[in-house]
């Protein structure tokens, strides 16, 4: 479904992503783990078109999306929940969700809203509230719900557990599993490697812009080097 080959991304002359290749098959949960500054967010931003790579190719559903603008990429079914949520703080919860459906026909919005409210009853209760007044966990739910409003086939999540209490992290991961069960393929970026690997099919380990390991998630959970570096021994 997604095929990335020899991707190189620069910030000025900082070489942030070095010759990375990976792939995601329909129906998988794939996770990218790595320490701060490894380049995880940079990869997602490049996939969604916010950043341009210098060389390499990105194929999504057999289409070259490499030179597409972000709005065309969203339309093709690739949605991105950015790190730090980035909800529209001064807009209401419902307006945020409507923005998520920006590329879709207005007649399709109402049924999608119902679907999202079923998944996130908390958002329904707070639909008229401005997003800035939500708690961190609720904002994460909103950011995810908003991305789902575009009906993506591949959902990319950048550190959804960041800054949340353990109980909320459990909830967020349950929702990710639910979205996956309903047919969405998932690319999950996490620093919480334990959680990410526990729900993923496969994982890639990223170190300073390079993929250093790639294996089924179960194997990574048992890998000594990975346990030392990312799972606290």
């Amino acid at each position: 479904m997604l095929q990335v080959d020899n991707l190189n991304v620069y910030y000025g002359n900082i070489h942030a992503i070095k010759d990375i290749s990976f792939d995601i098959k329909q129906g998988e949960i794939v996770t990218l783990i790595g320490a701060n500054g490894a380049g995880k967010s940079t990869i997602l931003k490049t996939l969604s078109g916010l950043l341009r790579s210098k060389t390499g190719s990105i194929k999504f559903m057999d289409q070259d999306i490499h030179h597409m603008v972000p709005n065309a990429i969203v339309k093709n079914g690739l949605a991105h929940v950015p790190e730090g949520r980035h909800v529209f703080a001064q807009m209401t919860v419902e307006e945020n969700l409507e923005m998520g459906a920006y590329t879709r026909k207005s007649s399709e919005i109402a049924p999608s809203l119902e679907h999202i409210y079923d998944l996130f009853p908390r958002l329904k209760e707070r639909r008229r509230q401005t997003a800035g007044t939500l708690s961190g966990g609720e904002q994460q739910m909103l950011a995810m719900g908003r991305a789902m409003m575009s009906k993506p086939t591949l959902l990319m999540l950048d550190e959804p557990s960041m800054g949340l209490a353990p109980i909320l992290i459990e909830q967020i991961f349950d929702i990710i599993k639910e979205l996956h069960k309903q047919g969405t393929t998932i690319l999950l970026v996490e620093q919480n490697a334990q959680m990410a690997l526990s729900i993923a099919d496969r994982g890639y380990v990223l170190e300073t812009g390079r993929i250093v390991l790639s294996a089924p998630a179960r194997d990574l959970l048992e890998d000594d080097a990975v346990r030392k570096a990312y799972l606290g021994g």
Partner: protein, 292 residues
């Protein structure tokens, strides 16, 4: 008695400032540009109305032509001058805006001459005053205030309820997230310039009805004062531009009413300095922290 006509007078002037200030604020909200060419759009609007009425076009149609002309010009300027600089440092954008402003003034001077031409205001609004038991009420003032209120209502609806308006708010809050929603930022920017210019076009007509003279530099002082109004209200804020405009208009009239008419411009710029010193976010401005 005098108070009421002065109040109307202030509201009239303030309405015009508010209409023009909105264009500054909306554009700033979207691309963080202080569009100093905005005042000169007004001047072009004035000339379009002037020439079309002079050549026999029905005044109502002339007004529409002026508004549409302002919109097209603003979109053209955005595409040609600002869009290529979207990722350049903000100072380059600002300098470009000043350059565009000078270009417009000089082209107008070349084409239409440096002198002021008189504007046929009476063919747009019948300029007679009503008199109620000694109170002089200017019809032009009443029409200006009503047209402004209607424009504000339409704008509020547009921004709050329409898809494009919501996209505008989304872009102004968080450009990156807005792109991830699939919003085409180029369309939103064009749209914002067009709406701002339409309001400026309306402002141009109303301004020419109050001061019926059109000249190549008529937009600079009006533009500057509207800019002060936008800053006073909080640059980037739509309600701020409305309130800021009215406040500046009323302040000017007040200064004139107490006999200091030579000081009106000075007072307006003193307000700018005071706001920038003590409350740079204005009445309704978001703090910079929130913006980042």
């Amino acid at each position: 008695m005098l108070f009421i006509s002065q109040l109307l007078n202030g509201l009239q002037l303030g309405s015009i400032y508010a209409l023009v200030a909105l264009g500054y604020s909306m554009v700033y909200g979207i691309i963080m540009l202080l569009n100093f060419a905005h005042g000169d759009i007004i001047m072009i609007g004035g000339y379009i109305a002037l020439f079309s009425i002079a050549s026999g076009v029905h005044p109502a149609l002339a007004v529409v032509m002026a508004i549409v002309g302002c919109m097209l010009l603003a979109m053209l300027i955005e595409k040609a001058a600002y869009k290529p600089l979207r990722s350049a440092p903000r100072i380059s954008l600002l300098i470009t805006a000043i350059g565009v402003s000078m270009l417009l003034q000089n082209v107008a001077q070349l084409l239409f001459g440096a002198g002021a031409r008189s504007f046929p205001s009476s063919s747009i609004i019948n300029a007679q005053n009503l008199s109620f038991g000694g109170i002089q009420i200017s019809i032009t003032a009443i029409v200006t205030i009503i047209v402004t209120i209607i424009s504000m209502l339409v704008l509020t609806f547009l921004v709050q309820k329409t898809k494009m308006g919501k996209a505008m708010r989304a872009v102004s809050e968080d450009l990156g997230a807005a792109q991830l929603m699939g919003i085409n930022v180029n369309h939103v920017v064009s749209f914002t310039f067009a709406v701002g210019a339409a309001l400026a076009g309306i402002g141009a007509i109303l301004y020419c009805c109050r001061y019926p003279l059109v000249s190549p530099t008529m937009g600079s002082l009006l533009g500057l004062k509207a800019f002060v109004a936008a800053v006073l209200g909080g640059i980037g804020s739509i309600p701020g531009a409305m309130v800021g405009g009215l406040a500046i208009g009323l302040a000017e009239v007040l200064v004139t009413a107490v006999g200091l008419s030579a000081w009106t411009d000075g007072v307006v710029f003193a307000i700018l300095i005071i706001v920038l010193t003590f409350r740079p976010t204005g009445f309704f401005g978001r703090s910079m922290m929130e913006k980042v």
